[in-house]
Symmetry: C2
Subunit: 167 residues, 2 copies
DNA sequence: TTGAAACTATTTCATTTGAAACAATATTGA
DNA sequence: TCAATATTGTTTCAAATGAAATAGTTTCAA
């Protein structure tokens, strides 16, 4: 996928709903921001998920399953990514003395330094990229996504077909 | 990643901005909706990207690069996914008589039938999942994402460090 | 206490994704 | 025309992801 963002040729399908449009836009925005993040990290010896783990780790150590919960992914996904971060010297695994099942992901000094360097630039870039929204609009967007997020978590949203509750 | 969505233990970091919060929520919402889509397609012999390609293909055929543009991914990603869809009998490749470089992705009758069956249910599920937002809020969200999307495409958002334009 | 159940992380396997290199074809401009 | 350039799709490789199975550990109730 190239970084150039020229107008594309295809048309919006006629069969659509506000919900579907919102969801498609959400996917597109996510995809573009992810792409920019990827390019930002290009020269930094890091991939996007590796950077994400750095952001959730700490010097004192964070359980792998806490990181996977925040990243909304499976534990099994992180094993390999953490391995690569260890190979690069940015984190290390330490056993949790209180629970021998847990392995704590600890930032090394090199990892902490990397993070001190990258995080502020990352936030600043994001801020600039969202300049097309006013301060108020950003907050509006945040609140709408918050509602949506809560709604998705709390209700029975993954029902199977049949037995709709609004019958 | 399990489907259960119980409250998690971690706290929001103190160092954050409205932009970062909005982005993190966007990622989380995206992640949850994607997870639900995955579970919906579980018994349907389809993965999420496979279903997405079905949605963009047609009986008369669509160039692969048009599909990859709409999916915001690289052509190379689709080769394998299309191969699997062909193996399942839902699409086929046909050469474009007007341009021998392009290969048209055509829905088979089985693929068209699958889509007729799945698409309405898919839209209905999405609609229900977004019920926590009012009709007006869905439209607000859509408009905000539209603005953000346009802003991301039009401006020079992937600048390297230095030469900030707001100095 | 002990056995069943739950939890944590890893392993394994298939699929998806990102990126670069490539072959075939099309387009363009000298 | 024809050579340089661009476009389309595939191949290849590394990384990430989803899901199931597994081993080790903890929790909890009988």
């Amino acid at each position: 996928m190239s970084l150039s963002t020229e107008p594309t040729g295809w048309q919006q399908s006629s069969e659509t709903t506000p919900e579907l449009e919102a969801y498609n836009l959400l996917r597109q925005v996510h995809s573009i921001l992810e792409m920019y993040n990827r390019y930002d990290l290009r020269g930094e010896d890091l991939t996007v998920p590796q950077f994400m783990i750095l952001n959730y780790a700490s010097r004192s150590g964070v359980p792998l399953s806490e990181i996977s919960a925040r990243m909304m992914c499976d534990n099994s996904n992180l094993t390999g990514i953490v391995d690569r971060l260890i190979a690069k010297g940015y984190v290390e695994r330490r056993p949790d003395p209180n629970d021998r099942r847990v392995s704590l992901i600890c930032l090394t000094e090199a990892g902490a330094e990397k993070l001190r360097n990258l995080r502020p630039r990352h936030h600043e870039r994001l801020r600039k990229r969202m300049r097309s929204l006013s301060e108020h609009e950003v907050q509006q967007l945040r609140e709408l996504l918050r509602s949506l997020y809560s709604g998705l978590l709390t209700s029975d949203n993954h029902e199977r077909d049949g037995h709709q509750s609004d019958a």
